[in-house]
Symmetry: C2
Subunit: 397 residues, 2 copies
């Protein structure tokens, strides 16, 4: 596996992308992105499980019924959620106009929106922008596309990786925007992953679902789950065909790209001061490992302790205890920034000042051994800070 520095969704062969400004965002920042495959492609997607879902998700489900898609049109600044039939119509029009400009069928285009909820999309601005963005498509447009999907993200998020296959090489590229939470919307996690490998749509969905389980589903900022979260994977077969043993190699590339994007989202979460990695081992199953890690990651007490550089093993143990997973507290072990802090049913001796100093770094590691089995999981989150409260409370209508 070889990392392609500065790569993104246009790193794989046969993709074009662009990002432009249409005025949906009042700030004047870029707010419309397009990713396009120059040839027919298979596609798969995973959506939020929230009962309340944005209009784009309903349209994408329709358009992906045949497992094929060649373009994704994405806007930031407005999530097109809770707008009723008008929202559905707007999402359809975005696909239809993009298809018409690209010479595709409407069903070959997917749509994503992120930003304010409950406010109708300024569809005229977007429709005026679509011919422009199609004209702007380019082989190195991945970076501007990644920029145009940002909302409260502070940095654009892209990556690409090359994997060796039996019959040659395949490239996987990705862009994402973050789960930063800011008034008045709940923010959205969006990602588009592209590859030039040739993968039938059934296996493609399996690859994506498995990778998401181990990457995007392992990050949590504050436990809130957006109404618009969507990850789309497109495989256009412009590169190598998959040999018999290539699925696992391609999977590695997809999981790598998804993990890079997931970590970048956790690191860039609104108001966070550090990335927290929670590695759980010794679990009976991977699902249980994830469940324990997520409980610890979502604990406001653990997250404030992390902010305060407080090596508080009691809060970690407490969150493990209510995760709903069976384990023996007498056998479990916890370490923080590489220092053992809990074991044999009690706190261990450690130098609190030294450990507190180590916690001040940008990255903080919590390692948990459940001593129940051999399964593992890695969860990414951030700390809970004054800035989080400020950003999410300081909103006036």
């Amino acid at each position: 596996m070889r990392i392609i520095e500065g790569g993104g969704v246009t790193a794989p062969s046969g993709y074009r992308a662009a990002g432009i400004q249409t005025g949906v965002k009042e700030s004047g920042a870029k707010d419309l992105a397009l990713v396009y495959s120059t040839r027919p492609a298979n596609a798969a997607a995973v959506y939020t499980t929230n009962k309340v879902q944005g209009a784009p998700i309903a349209i994408d489900r329709e358009h992906l019924a045949d497992g094929k898609a060649r373009a994704v049109i994405l806007n930031s600044g407005n999530a097109n959620v809770c707008n009723g039939d008008v929202g559905l119509e707007h999402a359809r029009r975005m696909c239809a106009l993009t298809a018409s400009e690209l010479g595709l069928q409407t069903e070959e285009v997917l749509v994503c929106s992120t930003g304010l909820i409950g406010v109708p999309l300024p569809i005229a601005k977007i429709e005026a922008g679509i011919p422009q963005i199609v004209a702007a498509l380019s082989e190195d447009g991945g970076a501007t596309a990644a920029e145009a999907i940002m909302t409260t993200d502070t940095v654009p998020k892209s990556c690409a990786v090359e994997v060796e296959l039996e019959a040659g090489r395949a490239v996987v590229g990705a862009m994402a925007k973050g789960a930063a939470m800011i008034a008045p919307n709940m923010a959205t996690m969006l990602a588009v992953v592209t590859t030039d490998a040739a993968v039938p749509s059934g296996p493609l969905q399996e690859l994506l679902s498995q990778a998401i389980q181990r990457t995007f589903n392992c990050i949590t900022v504050d436990g809130d789950m957006s109404t618009s979260d969507t990850v789309i994977l497109i495989a256009n077969g412009d590169g190598a065909e998959l040999g018999d043993r290539d699925c696992a190699r391609l999977y590695e590339g997809i999981e790598y790209a998804c993990r890079q994007m997931a970590q970048a989202i956790a690191r860039d979460a609104e108001g966070s001061s550090k990335l927290i990695t929670i590695a759980v081992r010794g679990a009976a199953t991977e699902a249980e490992a994830r469940q324990v890690g997520i409980a610890v990651a979502n604990s406001s007490l653990v997250k404030t302790a992390a902010f305060g550089n407080d090596p508080n093993w009691g809060r970690i143990l407490c969150a493990m205890g209510y995760a709903g997973v069976d384990f023996d507290p007498e056998r479990a072990r916890v370490s923080l920034c590489g220092t053992d802090i809990y074991g044999n049913g009690a706190g261990l001796d450690f130098d609190g000042d030294k450990l507190s100093a180590a916690m001040q770094a940008e990255k903080m590691a919590i390692d948990i051994d459940l001593a129940m089995g051999a399964a593992t999981a890695e969860i990414f989150t951030c700390d809970l800070t004054y800035e989080y409260v400020r950003l999410n409370a300081e909103y006036t209508t």
Copy 2:
């Protein structure tokens, strides 16, 4: 039902209580409480479901195996959690010495501890205090007992209520301490409920379990669940025998006392600026109503919006959506401080400034109609403030 102003655990007939200072708390505040029934009594208890549990819970399970108990000895300042066999021995010694001073069997005494975790109990101080507290027992000692179980609570929490039964009257009294969360321990919710009604231990456990489901299990401060949460109900039969239809009337009294205590805990949560009541109606089942209310109550985004007086229906709807309960977002309705803010699948017109002003009160009401059935639930929580972050982050070892 008649509220007894200023009443507490000694309001029912045949109870004595006291609260004293033994030095477990370095501040010099009261830290040992005792509640005692002058006659044999039945008792029931409900404990935390956390996998990690304090030593007192293990001892209480043993002592309550026969459904009988006459006294509860409680200390604050140290939770006696994660202290291994020494912790169990200390909890046993607290019961044994209290029993010996009161002329009871050790099994007739229950024990609760709240405060620091992972630090051995200063058992000598407590043992020195037990003869003193037994000597201090009095018929109006409920108030000082409630004071002695406080940790970071800012006010003691007691109440009492009288219910009319067929054969006369029964009184229910209660005291509790809060789920305030402060470094370096996770805090504990403890409550003792007393009644002079005569109730066999089986029905007593049912009454308590049902009341807790509707009261203490309907409050949440930050979703964290302590290792020591315990609610004990004692019925000494010093008052009226229960007639055939009296169980429901007594239940009302018990539920009332538990709800008063639960609300007092939510209102007094560390760093909170307001009490939030989330009333869910139109649910298919009471459990689903509670599940939706708890999801909204635990949402950091809803809690920061409440702190910022931001009438953000999107965050409420979003939390409802990931609660894991089936409902139709097109039919659900949400109102805030009595103003309808969401319905028919979209935000409704409302005066944002006026509503934001209404949210500045000490109490804030969120009303949710799921439009799925007739079941209801009421959940109590508080907002997420700078002060919460400060209290939980500003700890140095």
